[in-house]
Symmetry: C2
Subunit: 343 residues, 2 copies
């Protein structure tokens, strides 16, 4: 490494003995130059520490290599894992992911889209919060920038949506619970933020009807994304005050279930499959922590790797083609039953 200062492509072209336009071409695609030239450039690259100024590059390119990635809440390990997987795929494809978290707030979500706007992303992957009032503003954004939705759907918005088949997955676990014991009641928030929650509610009602059981919804109060807290607090109320029509509780998501399990423990109510258990509790999502609850949580895993892969693939193909999809695409991936100790 020589320490002669290379401040721009001009300088680097000089020391490498190649013209600047060719150097530029090389950086846009190393395979687009003759092998012997590439070798010369790479030799120089080892000797001198140079990389193109990203601001100058992006100012002139038709399209940046930036891919925006917006998740509802990074504090939730489920989304953190999702984001990590997606980031990996994006990087692998030679693009530059930019991760933003909406922290559970619709205003923050819009702020995120706004700050993405300013970096002119080639495409965006958005897991929306899904607060009806702001869908319009999100739609505006997706008109400007090719956007693929994942995890939660906003009808008709974006080029495509990839997520879980709540119908199938809830059906799966309701089937299992009915088969192995008393039919479940459904534990959820009264006014959920996330569109999936509504889908799951409906799926539960349908599954119970299909199996000829009386459905029963337990809809608790609570705002925001502190699901464990809500599950704990409201779960304690329900468990101590209310006479439930079943000893089996299916929670709308694992985080509620984690809170509920904690409440059950606190109140000395044994949860599990054993004969002396008072309750069975199941969740949905296969949250990273659900293996470590007491007892470990029976749940449904989402195929988030497939969702991530398909989402990235789709947004990148949009970016490459510089076209929009003729028809909005929508694929729902199936969940898998994860049997553990709690139900």
């Amino acid at each position: 490494m020589t320490d002669q200062k290379i401040k721009n492509m001009e300088d680097f072209a000089a020391v490498s003995g190649i013209s600047r336009p060719t150097i530029s071409k090389y950086f846009n695609d190393p395979d687009s130059v003759r092998k012997s030239t590439r070798a010369k450039i790479e030799t120089a690259l080892e000797k001198y520490d140079y990389r193109p100024n990203i601001y100058a590059v992006n100012q002139n390119r038709r399209q940046t290599k930036n891919i925006g990635l917006v998740v509802p809440n990074l504090t939730d390990p489920f989304f953190a894992g999702f984001a990590r997987t997606i980031e990996g795929l994006v990087v692998e494809a030679g693009y530059n992911p930019l991760l933003l978290s909406s922290h559970g707030g619709p205003e923050q979500e819009l702020a995120n889209l706004d700050s993405l706007r300013s970096i002119k992303p080639a495409g965006v992957l958005l897991a929306p919060l899904g607060r009806a009032s702001l869908e319009e503003r999100v739609a505006e954004f997706t008109n400007e920038v090719p956007t693929v939705l994942f995890d939660a759907n906003l009808e008709g918005i974006g080029e495509a949506f990839f997520g879980s088949d709540n119908n199938q997955s809830i059906g799966l676990i309701v089937d299992y619970l009915c088969r192995s014991g008393e039919p479940p009641v459904f534990f959820e928030m009264k006014a959920p933020i996330n569109p999936n929650a509504y889908k799951r509610r409906t799926a539960y009602l349908e599954a119970m009807e299909r199996l000829g059981h009386e459905p029963h919804l337990i809809q608790v109060n609570g705002q925001g994304w502190n699901f464990e807290e809500i599950g704990f607090r409201e779960g304690a109320r329900v468990l101590t005050n209310q006479r439930l029509p079943s000893n089996t509780i299916l929670c709308s998501n694992d985080r509620l279930a984690i809170g509920l399990l904690s409440a059950a423990f606190e109140n000395g109510l044994k949860v599990g499959l054993e004969a002396d258990s008072f309750l069975r509790i199941a969740g949905h999502d296969d949250h990273p922590f659900s293996r470590f609850t007491c007892p470990s949580l029976t749940t449904v895993s989402q195929d988030y790797e497939a969702i991530a892969a398909k989402s990235v693939e789709t947004v990148l193909s949009l970016v490459d083609s510089r076209e929009r999809l003729k028809k909005r695409e929508e694929i729902l991936f199936e969940g898998k039953l994860v049997m553990r100790g709690s139900a």
Copy 2:
């Protein structure tokens, strides 16, 4: 909102009736122009949708407004929360945070610093992994870019370090445990990744000595950042095979404790303060999930808000002054005992 297209500052200057250099000045600091001019500009801003091209701006500014933020592992809610707090402070100060996660790998950490380099951040906040072999490369980076370390210290690297006083916090909980029952053994990984783990081990040994008790380290195998998994697996081995010299276990961090609690439950060992409990378990960090373990986890909370505030304040003052600190600063913040059910 008129839809006449404003494509650059020139256009915007035209429609707002102000000269381009003055517009430029306005965007760099709205208060630097006369009130009447500012009013004119802001009126135009409401009418026409224009924002400066960030790439052109950053190409010409002496310094970008970007602040890099690198955390070891976003999948850990503790760091996700930390990051969120820091992001908020950075935005509030008018800077642009860029969040990257090292995913627990030193190579990824270097890759993160490398990709930060290309966006020419004005300053960086780094919570390092602390793998000795790569410290040198991190140090190189901190020579180029003003960097403040937080959470984990690398001796002599960066302009400053702000973190927890492990000595104080471990002392605090060892005191408490000894006062309220049997002196604790210390449960930790044999070869921890994180520098704090070493500090905590030492702090434990010192605290025990100070109180006149025989220390006892349980050092388990395990690689990487799956602390719950390691705590669970190795915890189960220890609890079933080993005769412990105490019924009280202090874990090096909450995530290990969460796994250990799960293992205890699985093996039918009652944890808690009750007379019929077999074990007491305590952790460190006040992890977001530690309220929902069974039983809830007694631990020490880090003053991460203070650490975040001080870190941001310091890096921004470095950025503003465009100077380096004469002397590396180092502040350790005290932890607080969080008494819950497990010990």
